[in-house]
Subunit: 137 residues, 2 copies
């Protein structure tokens, strides 16, 4: 696939962020990496929301172009690629955590998410520390 | 326009949230309402990112179906409709604030956004209090 280039629509920070990941599929891939530890194409395909193969390939390329994920050779397979969140990608954790808390407040979500939302309510800083890109001192 | 109905792809909280607003245009409309005080179709059209009229109408209907915005008669005009964020919509402020902070950290954004990101860094709670849906006691 040709290397993607992102065109930024304006210098608004929200618009800029959305030019990179403002698509439900992109954020579901980030979710799979951040919360479910998934890191291969095959694992993303089985994400539960039935992403189409062409959309998955497109969004992975877009996330790579936006510096959210990086690709490396898979240590266990010559045909597989390993995707990893970059520090910039991991830094989306606070945003994702807010999304979970919001969704749990207004919608019926699965029990595991309800438990996670409770943890967020109780001690958000502790939850976020698990995803922190800042080296521990 | 026919009343929209949202189909939820899974009971994952992130997927649920994205089924409602997981589209860059939807979030730009929410931004315009939350941070810029815009509340008419005409104002959203002039949002700066050149949204197409059919997309704008579609996203407004979707946001209404998702309970994010509500429509009322415009007090100043019989032909205009006034859009307002519901408490559920205003509760997206923490997510938007995280998006601004993230974007400012990694991208070149406009000076006003840099100043806002500084405020977030300094005292996020104070920034969020401006958008709070919890009645002040």
């Amino acid at each position: 696939m040709k290397r993607k280039k992102i065109t930024y629509r304006s210098d608004c920070p929200i618009s800029t962020a959305l030019d990179i990941f403002g698509d439900k599929w992109s954020l579901l891939i980030i979710r799979d990496m951040l919360f479910k530890g998934k890191n291969t194409y095959g694992e993303f395909l089985k994400g539960g929301e039935n992403i189409a193969t062409n959309i998955l390939a497109d969004r992975l390329a877009l996330l790579e172009a936006g510096g959210i994920i990086s690709k490396t050779a898979h240590p266990g397979s010559k045909t597989k690629v390993l995707y990893k969140l970059t520090p910039k990608g991991i830094d989306l954790a606070p945003l994702m955590v807010e999304m979970i808390a919001w969704s749990e407040k207004y919608h019926q979500v699965h029990p595991e998410a309800i438990a996670f939302a409770k943890e967020i309510k109780k001690d958000k800083a502790a939850v976020l520390a698990r995803f922190s890109t800042t080296p521990k001192t």
